[in-house]
Symmetry: C2
Subunit: 225 residues, 2 copies
């Protein structure tokens, strides 16, 4: 099993602020896991007893609404941590995590992380910064949900995925989502998401290769109102 202190993934998250000693300690008690596409990593309401460090793959974090629809709140990719929030607030998770493709993660037990949060103020300040950033992003999402139309939100989602997670060699978005996933990100009916994507296609803004989406006219997408 790999050693945390030598792992390059930690560069991308707050674990980089831990000392070599701390990393070595964590390395000893962490476990590696492979998670298959579609598999549930944790359920809404489940008590997490640790954090996941994503070494490869992507997952979605969603919350079930009272109307039975799933709202995707965030996507977590390679390099990021998963489950800090519930760990810190010491409450059960308010979100469900599902793998969008095959993933490799390391699981670090709660007690180890809490220990470091309480003793290493550089580390906890780093986590704090990440959370502050997440909160800012959440504000933006709230405003978008409240004030923008479905086609704007969908256009922005495509742009976000493009800018944040990049493209495959053929120019398609590196993350493959179903139409239902898009609907659940944007907060609309699946049919509505499909309709809007079809319209984008007709307008030459995007094209599709199988289920993969390619952005053909980024400035055009940005102009959508």
């Amino acid at each position: 099993m790999g050693k945390c202190e030598q792992c390059i993934i930690k560069q991308f998250n707050s674990l980089k602020s831990l000392t070599t000693d701390e990393l070595m300690r964590i390395s000893k008690c962490k476990t590696s896991k492979t998670i298959k596409k579609g598999e549930v990593i944790f359920e809404e309401g489940e008590m997490l007893n640790g954090v996941y460090c994503v070494k490869d793959g992507i997952c979605k974090l969603s919350k079930l609404s009272e109307n039975g629809k799933d709202q995707i709140v965030k996507m977590v990719v390679k390099g990021q941590l998963l489950g800090q929030r519930s760990l810190i607030s010491d409450e059960s998770s308010n979100l469900q995590a599902v793998a969008l493709n095959d993933m490799e993660v390391c699981f670090i037990p709660k007690s180890e992380i809490i220990k470091d949060l309480q003793n290493n103020s550089k580390f906890s300040f780093d986590v704090l910064k990440e959370m502050a950033h997440d909160l800012k992003e959440a504000d933006d999402v709230i405003v978008n949900m409240a004030q923008k139309h479905v086609r704007q939100r969908l256009a922005e989602t495509l742009i976000y995925i493009h800018d944040t997670f990049g493209m495959n060699p053929d120019g398609t978005l590196s993350i493959l989502l179903s139409r239902e996933d898009y609907a659940n990100i944007v907060g609309t009916a699946t049919e509505s998401a499909i309709r809007v994507l079809s319209q984008f296609k007709k307008d030459g803004l995007i094209s599709t290769i199988g289920k993969h989406i390619k952005i053909d006219d980024l400035p055009g997408l940005k102009r959508i109102e």
Copy 2:
């Protein structure tokens, strides 16, 4: 001027985790301010050089959408801190803060707070917990915005204000908001908010005394779909 170490307000926020010495140091450099109703505390995009501890009154935090509408993201009341986020992320504020009634606040300079965040891990862990909670709340708001109707969101807003901020002696909600404010919380047009409130009144769910709203049928409001 009052002394932080003797101030009871701090019981309600993470400042309670500071030591007496730290509080005495902060006490020396803090300044008290009175803010009139309607006054802007800080603007969107403004760099904050400190945190506000709200001793009395209420303010709204909002963000201007591209369509020109203001979205209210959060309300901050007596006992809470204002501006931690921007301070921690060291970025300009993404929100505007406006007083909803006359306020009394203490302003604590950035350097002092940062010093304690970096040295007192109990304090920073406490702030971390608060942020984790805020993030959880933000998730809920996102889901509500995306999946619920205006009348549901408005009903829930009334219930939230009732449960969180309480009532006046006459049974009306202790926080007085304009119809436009309600619209900006719910993310709808002012006319729509007015219409829904009128309907609630017709249905006997609420009544109004002047501009004040009184909840007459809480279970009924909770049943709104």
